[in-house]
Amino acid sequence: MNYLLLIAAMMAVTFLPRYLPFYLASKLQLPHSIEQALNYVPIAVLTIIVVQTSLFKEGQLALSADNPYIAASAVAFIVALLQKRLFVTISAGLVSYAVLQYWLSA
């Protein structure tokens, strides 16, 4: 394996998708339909990352009571519905995770 070539190629295919939209930003007038679709990007991608991280453990679906990620996520979800401050949501989620983890291992 030519490591220099590997690093350069990885760098190119990582950097280009990140930079091309930024580079073209001021030259590009996005069609209305694309602008509308972009509002859904964070909802879609972040939700998928949340679900895939909390429902799966070691590559297996872990839909059971001894997976503390599920209950902690549920608490964070409810707290986020009740108020908007990110700090409060994160704290509530982390505290409930810690309590559950302690309770499960006791």
Partner: protein, 241 residues
């Protein structure tokens, strides 16, 4: 740098703190895993410094050690990183007023974490007037933490095999929940999240995170279609009355 710009940069770093914590075990495991696969130290460090893409780095290391050819590795890294294209396009309205020399480091350090934090900031009722500084404060913190953790993993080697089960990624999960939920304002937003959750679960075992990309696309399309259907209904109702 003026005081208020510095303040914005610090604010960006501060808002990223839970996600920096969540990234620690991944950085260390990346360094340790790459070391265990027999990659030279300079290669392991150079990938973290020059590529800077968490999950893509993991997949690349695993592919290198399984003897995959260069085109296969590069194509896989490309697919895994395509979601960054969606992030970058979503950020166009907020970055277009900045010079190219600022956009370059912003693009280079665009990750899931920084995207979540800066998008949240940009769409607030009273966003920071120094968005680029806020952004780079967040990104710099993630970047430096990643370099440090890669190095720790290299040095510590395989002494922490259980590191991934430390559960630090719960911080990322609850932070992302706190960022997404306030954006769920219309029924079409809820539909998008629901489709994303269902499809993300069903396509979890698809290779190289292609399930993530596929699920994102169908969730976005579902949201847009529902929004358009609702708007049409409202318009026809108005015409009738």
């Amino acid at each position: 740098m003026t005081n208020s710009k510095l303040h914005s940069a610090i604010e960006g770093a501060r808002d990223t703190l839970p996600l920096v914590f969540a990234a620690i075990p991944f950085g260390i495991v990346y360094g340790a895993l790459a070391h265990a696969q027999g990659l030279p130290n300079w290669v392991i460090l150079a990938i973290s410094m020059l590529v800077f893409a968490g999950s893509a780095q993991f997949i690349a290391i695993i592919l290198v050690s399984s003897g995959a050819t260069l085109p296969v590795i590069v194509l896989t890294v490309f697919v895994v990183n395509l979601r960054h294209l969606l992030y970058a396009v979503s950020l166009i309205p907020y970055v277009k007023k900045f010079s190219q020399s600022l956009r370059l480091p912003m693009a280079f350090t665009l990750t899931d974490e920084t995207f979540a934090v800066v998008y949240n900031q940009a769409t607030r009722d009273n966003p920071t007037p120094h968005f680029a500084h806020y952004y780079l404060g967040s990104a710099a913190f993630m970047y430096l933490n990643w370099q440090l953790c890669t190095w720790i993993g290299l040095v510590a080697g395989n002494r922490f095999p259980e590191l991934t089960s430390f559960g630090l990624d719960i911080a990322m999960v609850v932070a992302f929940i706190g960022i997404v939920v306030p954006h769920l304002k219309m029924p079409s937003h809820w539909a998008c999240a629901l489709v994303a959750a269902l499809s993300g679960t069903l396509t979890y075992d698809w290779p190289n995170q292609s399930g993530l990309l596929f699920s994102a696309v169908i969730a976005i399309i579902s949201g847009v279609m529902l929004e358009n259907a609702f708007n049409k209904k409202i318009i026809t109702k108005k015409e009738i009355s």
